[in-house]
């Protein structure tokens, strides 16, 4: 039913299910954690928190009922690589979670699957049943006494903000998906108050690859601060949209060449919450230390109206704001108003500066990532595309 548009061969194809877990179980759990640390793996959801550090904090946090949660609430505009992993490499996700459970000493795991991906649930349940039958889940996994772990799938219900880890936990607990204040972090006060690791779908899959192929293999790829490979979801004005695997640290220009997006005037890296990179900066690298991304790359061709783009992003944030804090709830509609004025060619430079200052306030004062990121797109087009947005002869003449 769904046409998969994966380009080139993915590392995930070459990993035998079971190989990562077997490798982890051969030695004490501290060894597996050490290998993940040596690999330099950082969170593939986009925030880039070091995976081994998160897991180590959860180990040290006291508690009997620790949880492993897989964040499958992929909702960032332009991101769809998790969907491909969920449908084609579900074994790797569950295995990565099982390794996580082995390392931190968890008994229960939860996959929080976004409501929009409900059609994947049946498939995931089938894989879970098979893994239970293979003794890769359940009691005494691989015959090891005391290693009991099982995974259940829970559904989201159409709220982007639930991709934020504390909002996700709120949702699992049967609450509105409103982000919590952090600290405390989920590693000590997570699901039902228990120590919890929340990792992205792709992060779990890479954990398996690292244990199967070695930390050295992984950290020899990429840059010093952003090691390894990463999946990218490429869409927009290019001839070959789809899912790609590239090393971290690839430049925007190199990426555009691979996907048939040469001639683009800008690329949105990291989704609506990310950054807009104009053509003059295509030599920048996609890495945590330069332009970070959870995988979303949207290409804008020479004829694309950037005001329409930013309007679309802002409407998205206005719709998805949980409404809890004022800068995000009230700021986003103000920016939309500003975009409409620009579209009509009725916005003074003075007012643009006011809006930018509002945007900066939102970045500083919003409670969670959603509100902090919401003004990014607006601020970038004001910075890079003033020629295009000022003095328009608009709809009302």
């Amino acid at each position: 039913m769904i046409v998969e548009t994966t380009h080139g061969s993915l590392t995930f194809c070459s990993i035998e299910p079971g190989s990562g877990l077997n490798s982890a179980l051969e030695r004490p759990s501290a060894n597996a954690l050490g290998r993940i640390e040596a690999s330099g793996l950082r969170g593939r959801g986009g925030a880039g928190f070091p995976t081994s550090l998160k897991w180590d904090l959860a180990i040290k946090s006291p508690g009997e009922n620790k949880y492993v949660i897989c964040n499958a609430d992929e909702g960032e505009p332009g991101t769809f690589k998790d969907r491909v992993i969920l449908s084609d490499f579900a074994d790797l996700i569950f295995e990565g979670m099982t390794i996580g459970a082995f390392v931190i000493g968890a008994k229960r795991g939860i996959v929080y699957l976004r409501g929009e991906y409900a059609y994947l649930r049946l498939h995931l349940e089938t894989v879970l049943r098979r893994r239970r039958a293979q003794n890769l889940l359940g009691k005494k996994i691989r015959g090891r006494d005391g290693f009991d772990f099982d995974i259940e799938i829970r559904m989201g219900a159409g709220a982007y903000v639930c991709g934020e880890e504390t909002a996700l936990i709120e949702s699992l607990e049967g609450q509105r998906g409103e982000p919590r204040n952090r600290p405390p972090f989920p590693i000590d006060t997570g699901y039902l108050g228990n120590p919890t690791i929340v990792n992205n779908v792709e992060t779990f899959a890479w954990v398996v690859c690292i244990l199967a192929k070695g930390a050295k293999w992984f950290n020899s790829i990429g840059t010093e601060k952003s090691t390894g490979l990463k999946l990218f979801s490429v869409s927009g004005d290019c001839s070959q949209p789809g899912v790609y695997e590239f090393p971290m640290g690839i430049t925007v220009a190199e990426l555009l060449k691979e996907v048939g997006g040469e001639g683009a005037k800008a690329v949105q890296v990291g989704g609506a919450a990310g950054q807009c990179v104009p053509a003059a900066q295509f030599e920048r690298t996609i890495a945590y230390e330069d332009v970070p991304t959870g995988g979303s790359v949207i290409v804008f061709g020479p004829d694309r109206d950037m005001l329409r783009v930013v309007e679309n992003f802002l409407e998205f944030f206005a719709d998805e704001s949980c409404g809890q804090c004022t800068p995000c709830r009230e700021g986003t509609p103000k920016l939309i108003e500003g975009v409409k004025m620009l579209q009509q060619g009725r916005c003074s430079m003075h007012y643009i500066h006011e809006l930018c200052s509002l945007g900066e306030t939102m970045q500083l004062a919003s409670k969670c990532g959603l509100g902090q990121m919401a003004p990014n797109a607006f601020l970038s087009i004001v910075e890079h595309f003033q020629d295009e947005i000022l003095g328009r002869v608009g709809r009302d003449g």
């Binding site: 046409v3 409501g115 929009e116 607990e173 679309n312």
Partner: protein, 185 residues
């Protein structure tokens, strides 16, 4: 709004007592399966939404009683999530992706044709109760847009001319869905 033991729906059409009893017993069955902890709330609401096409005030009260929480707690959760609705939805909920990549690929034209063929605007339900037309934010099909969900089924590369056949496909499977849903309640 929430009167304890309120016998009928306070808004919309009133429910027959037998209908209320049936709904109540199906909710009790759900709590048997999902448990009565607060964390069972979402799975219960999701199943109710799927089988009854909405979460009525009466159901909110019953769920609140079963989970031993205030009905307002249930209502606040229902109002938060875009896939949970307190007003009856059509048997087929159409959600067209409006996020940037689909927008760039012509979702606007698909939207117009959906309105034309259904005779309703976004946010509305057809008078026969079959279709609800709405928007979705990014459906994760950005490389194959425009994309839309019809209940749990995903359609990609939708064009204005494909709209009609998708709607016909829904109409022809409607009978099957209705039977399944009745059994589940």
């Amino acid at each position: 709004m929430f009167t304890a033991g309120c016998p009928v729906e306070t808004k919309g059409h009133s429910m027959l007592v037998t209908e209320q009893e049936r709904l109540r017993s199906s909710l009790v069955k759900m709590t048997d399966r999902f448990g009565r902890d607060r964390s069972a709330l979402m799975p219960i609401l999701q199943e109710l939404q799927q089988t009854r096409y909405h979460i009525s005030e009466y159901s909110m009260q019953v769920i609140a009683d079963l989970l031993d929480i205030h009905p307002v707690e249930v209502s606040s959760v229902v109002s938060f999530y875009s896939f949970l609705e307190d007003k009856p939805q059509g048997q087929f909920v159409i959600r067209l992706c409006r996020t940037i990549a689909c927008d760039m690929n012509g979702a606007g034209n698909v939207a117009r044709q959906l309105e034309n063929d259904l005779g309703v605007e976004f946010g509305e339900t057809t008078p026969d109760g079959k279709f609800t037309l709405g928007w979705a934010n990014c459906l994760g099909m950005c490389d194959q847009g425009p994309a839309m969900l019809v209940n749990e089924k995903i359609y990609t590369q939708v064009t204005p001319e494909k709209v009609h056949s998708i709607l016909e496909e829904c109409r022809s499977t409607f009978g099957v869905h209705a039977t399944v849903d009745k059994e589940r309640c």
